[in-house]
Amino acid sequence: MRSLLLLIICTLSLFANELQYEHNLDKAIEKANKEHKEVMMMYSAVWCPECNYMKDIVFKDEKVLKYIQKHYVVLALDIQKDTLPKGFDYIGIPTFFFLDKDAKEKSKIIGGSKAELFLQKLKALK
């Protein structure tokens, strides 16, 4: 029993230290509305080094991670598997779209940047 509890605690603490990604727009919107957050939709690709840098480095930065977890539900869409929802446009990846409650685009950030700068950009959107 103790081992099971320990395993659950360890698993939960692991999840707390990294972003959880949704992969379905409707589910992401539903979750965001329920948690009084907004949806940050990331359009990226596994072969894109800039996208991987954002996932591997920037989103693991403590300040960025906490800020995103507090304000957003992250929807991750892959350029090779997913088409962008109607009404969204992009010129390159990664692109970060910020959605309102009705899944309409409020704003977007094109391209990645270092953690401090990305956090500044996020805060400027609020």
Binding site: P49, E50, Y53, G92
Partner: protein
């Protein structure tokens, strides 16, 4: 005296100016290999996948330019400016990069193999997955540069920390 100054000004302008036909060709075709584009103001021109091999782009202003996968191989880019340019996947193979300002430029997957690099400013730029091979980076600056998975081959001198 005034005439001499005027004459000097005209002459220096002629000497420094790019070839207008070359600039026209670049704007119309999107490519201009071996062209003289020195001192050209190329800001705002879409140079995505442009062929600019062997071009003279010395002192050219390419700030804020979109030039994904542009080919600058063997081009002379001495004193050129790429401030905040988006030049992902661009090739600078064997290019002359003397005193080039790349501040804030996004150069993910750029290829700098065998480029003659000297006193370049790469501060705050993104060089993730870019390739350096056969370069001397000793006199160039890399303050705040993203060097995520940047490839430095064995024969690169002055690899930034």
């Amino acid at each position: 005296m005034k005439k001499i100054i005027l004459l000097l000004a005209i002459c220096s302008n002629i000497l420094l100016a790019f070839n207008p036909n070359d600039l026209k060709k670049l704007k119309e075709d999107g490519d201009c290999p071996k062209c003289d584009l020195s001192y050209a103001d190329l800001r705002g021109i879409d140079l995505t996948m442009s062929d600019l091999r062997d071009a003279n782009l010395s002192h050219a202003n390419l700030s804020h330019t979109l030039a994904h996968k542009a080919n600058f191989s063997n081009a002379d880019l001495s004193n050129a400016t790429f401030i905040n340019a988006n030049i992902k996947g661009a090739s600078f193979v064997y290019a002359t990069l003397l005193n080039v300002n790349f501040t804030g430029a996004r150069i993910w997957k750029g290829d700098f193999s065998h480029a003659k690099i000297d006193t370049c400013n790469f501060n705050e730029s993104a060089l993730g997955s870019a390739i350096f091979d056969g370069n001397n980076l000793t006199n160039s600056t890399f303050n705040g540069t993203i060097l995520y998975k940047t490839i430095f081959r064995k024969n690169v001198i002055g690899i930034p920390k």
